[in-house]
């Protein structure tokens, strides 16, 4: 109900207003930082993967120094403070999938996520449902996202519980031969970069919720 405010919302308002009153930061600082965080995207990480697919040297850089590789897609992890953003830190790692290994990322403790290059985490990533279950029942949880992999493919769960942050570099799918960087970027969705989806030609959005078509649809 819109008239109700949760305890956490009340706490946030109280801490923010008190901080402004005490001079820790200004309302303008807060607005600028909020807008910076909320406008990351669209998915610079997708372009990082597309570039890596096209350029073996860049791919090597992604795997050895992903913070430096982020600069090539316009992301400086030190921004906007000069020393990084709270809870995001400045140690990005890229997890390279192979035909026999698929990575998927979670933070069981909270919801740590590579926000400077991927934007805000989706709500489902923050839920206890995902965080508690993915580490123990990864194949079942991935199946709920529509992703079923054969037993020969090793599923490697990355529980990002410290300062390192992770994105998945999926295997470049078949059917993309001769594609431009822009075309490849379009199919590397946020869900592919977390590891709950695989990139496919023609799939340019995150996983749609399955919809059961009505037997007797309404006529308008």
């Amino acid at each position: 109900m819109v008239e109700e405010v949760s305890d956490f919302e009340a706490l946030e308002i109280a801490v923010r207003e008190l901080s402004i009153e005490k001079g820790l930061f200004t309302a303008e600082d807060h607005r600028r930082f909020t807008e910076f965080a909320e406008h990351i995207g669209p998915t610079p990480a997708a372009r990082l993967v597309a570039k890596a697919w096209l350029d073996p040297e860049y791919k090597k850089l992604c795997l050895t120094d992903a913070i430096k590789a982020s600069l090539a897609v316009g992301v400086d992890w030190l921004n906007p403070t000069g020393f990084g953003t709270p809870s995001d830190y400045t140690d990005l790692r890229v997890l390279e999938d192979t035909p026999t290994m698929h990575h998927v990322v979670v933070c069981t403790l909270c919801s740590c996520y590579p926000r400077p290059i991927l934007g805000f985490q989706p709500e489902w990533y923050r839920t206890p449902n995902y965080r508690r279950r993915l580490v123990r029942w990864p194949r079942q949880v991935l199946a709920e996202f529509g992703l079923s992999l054969p037993a020969e493919v090793e599923i490697r769960v990355e529980d990002s519980n410290q300062k390192c942050r992770f994105i998945v570099m999926p295997v470049r799918p078949a059917g993309t031969e001769g594609w431009t960087e822009d075309q490849l970027t379009e199919i590397v969705t946020r869900d592919c970069l977390i590891g709950v989806a695989l990139p496919r030609p023609g799939m340019t959005t995150n996983i749609p919720l399955p919809v059961h078509q009505p037997a007797k649809p309404a006529h308008h």
Binding site: L78, F83, L109, R136, D159
Partner: protein, 120 residues
Amino acid sequence: MSQHDRTHHAKIATGKGDPQCFKGMAGPAKFKVGERVRIKDLPDVFYTRCQVYTRGAIGEVAVVTHESPAPEDEAWGHVDHSEWFYIVRFKQKDLWPEYPAAFANDTLQTEFSERWLEAV
């Protein structure tokens, strides 16, 4: 009332980042990539980032990542001492008793500060 320097982190980390600002503070790393380690079940009364599901498990060091104060200290502002951090890889069947034998290749990896690891 003690004065707390709220600009301390900005002073040490601007232009470098975090955990880069702690580089060189931990001395030599105790463990190497490929080494088998067991996760210790240390007391964690107040705060920890070492997941209970890993305690007592044996895995392999996959990556030596960086130096940083352990979160158990950093959470209280105790940042004078840094440790090396390690990504340790486990076979899922070693973490969960019911993990299906059909998926024996599946693994999980997560990160620990040095205090949590002992050689096997």
